[in-house]
């Protein structure tokens, strides 16, 4: 089994097609929608947690690419500016996905981008504005 958080960018021409339905029906994949919207600039954006048998997952991703969906791991879109971050820890209790972890002795704050659900709560709550969501 495999499960990954990915960001899908849809061109406008795919807006009326049941893409996610196909992933479930044809490739037997499970999904959890974290975010979905349509922007004026680039069409549709969907942040998904997608999982299933590894072989099915790979075929599903192949299908997405073939129909013209651009995709990338969510971790590439949520970024911490390491020169800006002071490791204060203001983000730690706010994150609903527990993506920030304080190392006990050094008190440094680790960001686990694979846990991030891209809710954006930390972006505006960070006093030094070190967190960026790029999509």
């Amino acid at each position: 089994m495999i499960s990954q958080r990915i960001v899908l960018h849809f061109p406008y021409k795919l807006a009326d097609q049941p893409i996610v339905h196909r992933l479930v029906k044809d490739y037997d994949l499970e999904f959890n929608i974290l975010k979905a919207y349509i922007t004026a600039e680039e069409g549709g954006l969907l942040v998904l947690e997608l999982g299933g048998e590894e072989k099915n997952y790979e075929r599903g991703i192949q299908y997405l690419k073939e129909v013209g969906v651009k995709l990338q791991p969510l971790s590439q879109d949520v970024v911490r500016n390491s020169t800006r971050c002071s490791h204060c820890g203001a983000c730690v209790p706010l994150c609903p996905a527990a993506a920030f972890e304080v190392v006990p002795v050094t008190r440094e704050v680790h960001f686990h981008d694979t846990k991030c659900v891209a809710c954006g709560l930390c972006v505006k709550a960070c006093p030094l504005r070190a967190m960026e969501v790029r999509f």
Partner: protein
């Protein structure tokens, strides 16, 4: 045997002074005892890096040709208003100043992306800033309008001057209400969903000299990455509060007013800060050296997070309404464990003050002293201690109409 600051400085000049951080002294005293440690250690360095709103800078921009008088008029640096109630080209900017057109909290919670604290950071970083001023014109200062780029290197003086920094202890903020609130202590989740604290604890300057026996007027310090000085007790100085047997206050107490040449500071240690729904501020790095004059000072500096206590305060209702009362007392070791218990509930904790940066400041100051670059100063005056009865009073309002 007691030491004097003069004797310690002689050792620093000879490169023989033993300097440790306020973190390192804990184990040394644990192992050797305070008496022996006091003989061996000469200086303990402290550090803190947190948002400190009562911070600002004054500067003299130099006279233009023809001359202009900003005093009593309007002037802006990167659209942030300057205080101009001084002589012709002297101005002051505070960390919480906002551009006139900032939306503030009109769409709640406001973002407060850029304000006085960010101007100070950009100035220190050596960026060009946009100065715009209007004036009424006088016989000696006829010019009415000024628009120019300015840079810190061209200013005659640029001085960081913070009326209240480095709080000796601070509240833990929680929210008993049922909606999220946005405070100077950060966003607080409803129904005791989070607890925020703001102190370097065992590394915090004034918690290592609880009765202000060595820190006083004239103390040379690490300030914003450069050298600064303590000039006075900070505003809201409140020494006569409840204290533990180790002398440390268990509520906010002492504060420091500090000053230093901004031109030798660094943007790494003066960071423009945005508190969502609250406003802008400046995160300031401060480190104070504490001379180990005797066993007593050594014992004070060996205080650890488990021995430092503070109060849990509801910022949903009690704090804004000025109601007294604590929801409980916790120590900094409990706060740093990631969870505290409030009203029987496990509440996750967050910190606004950076402990890793506080460690870095204490270590940097230690290096400066070890290298002989930084000598200690004898205070020229001391702060009012708890015995003076000095207190921080609330405003007593007297209505204007009878």
């Amino acid at each position: 045997m007691a030491k004097t600051i003069k004797e310690i400085n002689e050792k620093i000049k000879r490169g023989e002074a033993v300097v440790v951080t306020a973190e390192e002294i804990i184990d040394i005293v644990e192992e050797k005892g305070a008496k022996k440690a006091a003989q061996q250690v000469d200086v303990v360095t402290t550090g803190t890096f947190g948002p400190m709103c009562s911070s600002g800078a004054y500067f003299n921009i130099g006279h233009s040709t023809p001359k202009i008088k900003l005093g009593g008029e309007r002037a802006y640096l990167n659209d942030v208003p300057l205080y101009t109630g001084l002589a012709a080209v002297d101005t002051f900017i505070g960390a919480t100043a906002l551009p006139d057109d900032d939306p503030r909290n009109k769409t709640f919670p406001g973002e407060f992306r850029y304000g006085g604290g960010h101007v100070i950071e950009d100035l220190v970083a050596g960026k060009d800033l946009k100065l715009v001023a209007n004036a009424y014109g006088t016989d000696c200062y006829p010019r009415r309008k000024l628009e120019t780029w300015v840079n810190i290197r061209d200013l005659n003086e640029a001085v960081l001057f913070n009326p209240r920094n480095a709080y000796q202890n601070y509240n833990v903020a929680v929210n008993l209400g049922n909606t999220a609130i946005y405070t100077y202590m950060g966003m607080l989740k409803p129904n005791l969903g989070s607890a925020n604290y703001c102190s370097a604890g065992q590394l915090s300057p004034l918690l290592n000299d609880p009765y202000y026996k060595t820190i006083g007027i004239g103390t040379r310090i690490f300030l914003g990455g450069g050298i600064g000085y303590v000039v006075w007790q900070g505003t809201q100085f409140n020494p006569a509060v409840q204290r533990k047997d180790n002398g440390t206050p268990c509520v906010p107490s002492g504060t420091l007013a500090v000053i230093g040449d901004l031109k030798q500071m660094s943007a790494e240690w003066l960071a423009g800060t945005s508190m969502q729904g609250y406003g802008t501020t400046l995160t300031v790095g401060i480190g104070v050296p504490i001379p180990i004059l005797n066993e007593e000072m050594c014992t004070y500096t060996a205080v650890n997070d488990e021995e430092l206590w503070t109060q849990i305060v509801d910022y949903g209702e009690s704090y804004p309404q000025g109601k007294k009362g604590s929801l409980g007392e916790v120590n900094y070791a409990q706060l740093k464990s990631g969870k505290i218990t409030v009203q029987g509930m496990a509440v996750p904790t967050g910190s606004l003050s950076s402990y890793p940066k506080a460690v870095e400041i204490a270590k940097t100051l230690k290096e400066w002293i070890e290298k002989g670059d930084f000598l200690l100063t004898e205070p020229v005056g001391f702060f009012p201690g708890p015995e003076t009865g000095t207190t921080c009073k609330p405003l007593r309002e007297r209505p204007l109409e009878k």
